[in-house]
């Protein structure tokens, strides 16, 4: 019998530090799979932020460094400018990219820096205990919004990062994907591959948003969290390509 699906080589032989059923693991596994396909394990530098997403660096078998909270796009700018031949990406969560590092991501995108941002959106601050994130859905409960997020109570509306980044002139490729089903996971893999290809061709800034889950802080089982994404997250965050100017000019 021939092995037709194997664990990525650039993933360390350890279990992820995530809770059971956390799709951060699936997203990072897909990332490693793409890096294996490109043969870039030795030439990749991951810039990790603060939050659950940071723990990917224990699993990645390539260079990675940790930035201050939210500052990963600023650090990645420096890394990419000093080592333009490397494949540089950041892997950030929603609290990191939408609250603390909002300025860094928007300005890195506005400068059209030649690196890739992978944004895992699960609508909560996972590591610190389920506080309300900028992407928390209306009515979704969080420890800092115990009755559910309510805009009339001064808690604001969910931030749509892909649409915001796509509204800038210089980003080349912006797509929102999901990893809730195998088909969507394969589409996400293609999107990451495309974003990395754009970076390696020197075309400019690419942004891939991945809708993930947080069974622990949503208070549901992993299987129920998949149904939650289908039922609630998709209506707020529709999947699709928000910007792709690789075909023009």
């Amino acid at each position: 019998m021939e092995k037709i699906y194997s664990r990525p080589v650039s993933l360390n032989p350890v279990a992820f530090n995530y809770c059971p059923g956390c799709l951060h693991g699936t997203s990072q596994k897909l990332l490693c799979d793409v890096i294996d396909e490109l043969g870039k394990q030795e030439d990749t530098i991951a810039v990790m932020p603060i939050g659950c997403s940071t723990m990917g660096m224990f699993a990645f078998d390539f260079e990675s460094l940790g930035a201050c909270h939210g500052r990963a796009p600023a650090v990645a700018t420096g890394v990419k400018r000093t080592a333009p031949e490397k494949l540089v990406f950041t892997y950030q969560g929603d609290g990191d990219i939408g609250y603390i590092g909002f300025s860094e991501i928007m300005h890195a995108a506005n400068r059209g820096e030649n690196f890739t941002v992978i944004f895992a959106n699960n609508g909560t601050f996972g590591m610190t205990g389920g506080q309300m994130a900028p992407t928390t859905l209306i009515g979704q409960r969080a420890t800092t919004a115990p009755l559910g997020r309510d805009p009339s109570y001064g808690q604001g509306m969910p931030i749509h990062m892909s649409e915001l980044v796509a509204s800038l002139p210089l980003p080349v490729y912006v797509e929102r994907c999901s990893v809730d089903t195998p088909a969507h996971a394969n589409a996400t893999r293609k999107a990451i591959k495309k974003a990395f290809d754009i970076q390696l061709a020197g075309k400019g800034f690419s942004f891939v948003e991945i809708l993930t889950n947080c069974p622990t802080n949503w208070g549901v089982s992993p299987v129920q969290s998949i149904a939650w994404i289908k039922e609630k997250t998709y209506t707020e965050y529709p999947l699709g390509v928000y910007k792709d100017i690789t075909q023009e000019g």
Binding site: I4, A15, G25, K29, P182
Partner: protein
């Protein structure tokens, strides 16, 4: 003829694979791994069709598929 192989050390028993398997090959077993989780087991009497859905979604990369 196809089969799935589960690496016991990585599995956390989240059951995402069990929910996806169209042939009911995967189910939660009694074996407990070093992390303290009950791990998934593959039933040899049922026919795996190597659709790879379980392996693609597995957040731990614990499943490998042979055909």
């Amino acid at each position: 003829m196809a089969k799935v192989e589960i690496t016991a050390a990585y599995c956390k028993g989240c059951l995402l694979c069990e929910a996806l398997c169209p042939k009911g090959v995967l189910s939660l077993g009694n074996e407990v791994n070093a992390l303290g989780y009950n791990i998934i087991k593959a039933d040899d009497t049922k026919e795996c069709i190597a659709c790879q859905q379980c392996a693609v979604i597995c957040p731990e990369g614990a499943i490998e598929v042979y055909k």
